[in-house]
Symmetry: C2
Subunit: 535 residues, 2 copies
């Protein structure tokens, strides 16, 4: 069986010992590895040394070694006989809401299976801040740590079962997550993450023993945890940068993760500048209040015919609607604005909304789906408060983009590519996001949805040993701007609290009367919306 | 409180974080340490990172850091507040028979207390070979490992209690032992140590986590285990070399450990050649059969008046005699030879021994202490078989010395210093050892007894951080000769089976008629013997 040239699995032939060469087995293996790698190797773990003598002699001194590299030094994560048994790796995107796992064959680099589960810490609180506060209670941190580790172990067991392998066949793990989640995963107290000046315990967790973390994998398995660049710019983003290739491109591009937080990195092969929107109002709060997470039957698309004023919705898997997710809300807000049903401040216009506008508990609601058309017989509506919340969120998003670009003295219009990462991000219709002024008015082709870039980045390093150094390079080249202390922020934020913006010249494709003048086509508004959805 | 300049405890002031500097606490400490040490530092353990944020903030960002260095890279073994609490280190000589511990204050380098215990594995077998065979039984290795770890933990608890500190105040351990004992201590299977070509699992155990080894010390404590140069030349000898200074001297000297095994190293600052006598008959077997270990009431000195033929004995602590230890047996054999009571083959001469010679179970016995003069009312005697055994052992010892010196093309007479290490070695009267031809005929001032050099070497590195590199240098500069395959060995051995030797010119100070012609004095034989004892 051949193995990937730049993978982590290396075939090694160890020189058998003789009376003339009484070097210990562990040192003998170390010497053989040095020759194969042409590099120094860290001390071999005592536990690996323990099984080495028998394994060497049973396999005529030919082994497969599973290696890893941390801070430029190779280390040994496992040894097996030279046979066809699968040697697996596990990439993990440790999201606040959803945890995604991908199992790979480390010898071939091929994916074996993928699964996801709702973060088991949801039982403590859906948002990270609730969990961080809970962590300060007695045994709170232990409980949060136990929840995520148990959740992972259950998912690992199921994933392995589906591939007919054992957790003990997993030798490498690559874990990317935001700084807070990583702290909870590692059992580190996040107390100072949420207090000025927002200091994490650790920036570079590096390469750890999976067993010591409580993870059910091979007893020698190493878990690489992506480094962070501060409390609000986590390893998930570093993994995302790696996957996007932002750090390898001559041209300046931007990567925006609009998941449960708003994190942004701008740069090229020479420099990277990053910031995150956790400090100000971000999309997270607004979106979760008015809707639900993407899933079957959830509205992720809203179409409006500005001529007839009729709305239609698209749901995930085409099931009867039972709620609305973030991308649906952005579509809806864009449609409401284009139809004149909300004004530039995002306030409902009763004359335009007509009978669709209802009063509930003293708050105006716009009915999107009547009770008889919904999955559960309940009217689906969006309140003025929901829209207000979205406006704050989109304003925060745009302000972050403006702040970071002005920091480096570049105009958003100069960006070669606008990478949109995250599950939520991948559902967003860029046209709608431009319409409400959440994202800059760039040609639609500039937008590239890259999906779960955190998972993809985590998976990448399991396939190519040359990328480890790149991760350090990315981390070290990032200049992180703390938005909390940026004086321009609040001024920009106020200007961005209009649809699309106080300064309309920033959004030439969005006319002041609410009609889309698409750069790509001069067709009808409806076709423009549809086209964007189909793309 | 000031700390040793080259000790392992360093005072470190960490820059407090600010909004302008959001580096994580662990990275902040790492940077501070790099500046203090002017060197790279290994990743800080996750568990240390875990307690770091609170400790930093409680101590105004001033800490005492307990460091260690392994393979030229510094690592952190613990952190405490900047106060006067004792930070302790523990040096361990892990002997096959006796385990000796010395507790030190790492800040000052001063010894706090010392204790020893009979190796708890004695219950399995007094000799190492019995234990190594036992290790191959089911659970045998676990049992042996459990025994030594439990023994150590008991001793650590008592030692700490005597100094009014806690085991958790111990941050560094330095452990020296023979290769087999170290394998059992680390739970590594010694199976291939006792099978040709005699390969240990590990040469350089390096710096391990004490807790992972089961040792009751601080949760972060590091245990440095001295490296070995093969199955029969262990870390106890490397520690001994370090203590003797053999590796720093211009002149060529020799270090001989005549403990439970016969290990020899010859060299100077430029080279070191080593060998060990486990393969041939060594002192161990002979000595343990006929006597007992040194202890109160044990005969460690024998005097004979060659004119009157009268014997007198010296015992440890001057108590009535209850047995004889190795050094006493060597004295006795020398006295018997000088009195003409044994011949050059070591056979009893009945005409000279007269009534002191008795037949027991068909074997000739020489009565040293009559029943009425002994502690337990039992006649103390030495049999022909015991003498034969000693002759084999002394021949092996001398052969090893000859073999190693001829290997490097040097005469034993050229040696500047003859270091004798080990508890047994420290009791040997060099004059007697020369008389029976066990050690070369050098001026008595050449012999230097250095006691438990393994413990002393282990303690040295706890006091001076500059010595770690020297240990690697010693190990790397040793050329180990495997005696088993040396063709000259058996020829030399046969020639050495006479008293003092077949080639009398090698022992000019020992006359062929059994009378001592001391190089240092031309006085009477008796005074010569006494003088040697008093020195």
């Amino acid at each position: 069986m051949t193995v990937l040239a730049n993978g982590w699995v290396k075939k090694v032939s160890v020189t058998p010992p003789s009376l003339k060469d009484n070097t210990a087995d562990a040192d003998r293996l170390e010497n053989a590895l040095k020759a194969v790698l042409n590099a120094e190797i860290a001390d071999i773990d005592l536990t690996i040394s323990g099984i080495l003598p028998e394994l060497l002699r049973k396999n005529d001194f030919n082994l497969r070694c599973i290696l890893f590299k941390d801070h430029k030094k190779w280390c040994l994560a496992g040894i097996t006989g030279d046979d066809d048994k699968i040697v697996a790796g596990l990439a993990v995107d440790l999201g606040t809401t959803t945890v995604v796992l991908r199992l790979l064959d480390l010898s071939t680099g091929l994916a074996l299976a993928e699964s996801s589960f709702i973060n088991t810490q949801i039982s403590i609180g859906p948002d990270i801040l609730t969990r961080l506060h809970f962590a300060e209670k007695e045994e709170g941190l232990c409980e949060l740590n136990r929840l995520i580790i148990e959740g992972l172990n259950r998912a690992i067991a199921e994933l392995c079962k589906s591939c007919k392998i054992e957790p003990s066949d997993i030798y490498l793990l690559s874990v990317a997550g935001n700084t807070s989640m990583i702290h909870l995963f590692l059992g580190l107290n996040p107390r100072w993450i949420i207090r000025e000046p927002y200091i994490p315990v650790i920036n570079r967790p590096g390469c750890l023993n999976a067993r010591e973390l409580g993870i059910n994998a091979n007893q020698f398995a190493k878990a690489f945890v992506f480094p962070n660049t501060g409390s609000y710019f986590g390893g998930d983003l570093i993994a995302g940068i790696l996957y996007s290739g932002l750090n390898r491109d001559e041209k300046t591009a931007i990567l925006v993760d609009v998941g449960t937080n708003a994190e942004v990195v701008l740069g090229n092969k020479n420099w990277l500048v990053a910031c995150a929107g956790a400090a100000g109002p971000a999309l997270e709060g607004g979106v979760t209040k008015m809707g639900m997470m993407a899933g079957p039957g959830v509205i992720d698309r809203v179409y409006a015919d500005p001529e007839t004023g009729l709305f239609s919705v698209g749901t995930i898997e085409g099931l009867p609607p039972r709620g609305i997710c973030g991308s649906g809300v952005i579509d809806l807000a864009a449609a409401l604005f284009l139809s004149g049903m909300i004004d530039i401040r995002g306030k409902f216009v009763p004359e335009a909304c007509k009978t669709r506008l209802k009063d509930k508990d003293g708050l105006k609601h716009f009915v999107l789906v009547p009770a008889n058309a919904s999955a559960e017989g309940i009217e689906l509506s969006i309140s003025q408060a929901d829209i207000d919340s979205l406006i704050r969120s989109k304003a925060a998003m745009y302000t972050i983009l403006e702040t970071i670009s002005s920091y480096v003295g570049i105009s958003l219009s100069e960006l070669s590519t606008f990478y949109v990462a995250g599950t939520f991000g991948s559902l967003i219709n860029p046209r709608s996001a431009i319409t409400i002024g959440m994202m800059p008015d760039l040609p639609e082709g500039t937008y590239k949805s890259i999906g779960n870039s955190s998972l993809e980045g985590a998976a990448m390093i399991l396939k190519d040993c040359r990328l480890m150094d790149e991760i350090d390079a990315i981390r070290n080249s990032i200049t992180y701007i703390e938005l909390n202390v940026n004086q321009d922020f609040m001024n920009r934020f106020s200007a961005a609290r209009f649809i699309p913006h106080t300064n309309l010249s920033l959004f030439p494709s969005v006319s002041s009367d609410g009609l889309v003048k698409s750069r790509d086509s001069d067709g009808k508004v409806k076709s423009s919306l549809c086209k964007a959805h189909e793309s």
